[in-house]
Symmetry: C2
Subunit: 100 residues, 2 copies
């Protein structure tokens, strides 16, 4: 049983393989899509997570959509803008399609 929320991996400051494992596990548990999200400096690690998961572990998964956005967060020094990324991975529908 997976809900929409279960299928999201939030990438932070841990080693990248932690997040790769989380993504791979969700697909192995039957998820159709997994959303990888990150903010600020962790954005690079979210892209690493995606690239490693797809190239090494999930041959039948493709990048469905990549979006970036700005969120406003409260800090000690007031409100500040932070960049965010969301990368949606999904099972390849047609195995014969060329990889993106």
């Amino acid at each position: 049983m997976t809900t929409e929320e279960d299928n999201t991996v939030f990438v932070g400051n841990k080693p990248v393989m932690n997040y790769v494992l989380a993504v791979v596990t969700q697909f192995n548990n039957g998820a159709e899509t997994v959303s990888i999200k990150a903010r600020g400096k962790a954005i690079s690690r979210a892209v690493d997570t995606t690239e490693i998961a797809i190239s090494r572990f999930l041959q039948n998964v493709e990048k469905r959509q990549i979006t970036t956005m700005t969120e406003v967060v409260d800090t000690e020094n007031g409100k500040t803008n932070v960049s965010c990324i969301e990368i949606v991975l999904g099972n390849r529908v047609h195995l014969s399609e060329s990889p993106r």
Copy 2:
């Protein structure tokens, strides 16, 4: 006169506003599209560049396409994989369209 190559901004380790200025300048010089590229840890800064340029300076520009990929680079310790991002910005065709 702008060639394809002119319309690319490579984001590295300089302050983000340097790259924002480069993007804004290219659009002000008549570019229809500008491609923002970065590798490794600079990926976060490329997203920052995009978000700042669009939200503060280029109201008629939208994100056209975001792609991530893996490149193999030679280092002192042999070949290694590095994640890359390319964000293509372009002039909004229909001003009445809702922003993405």
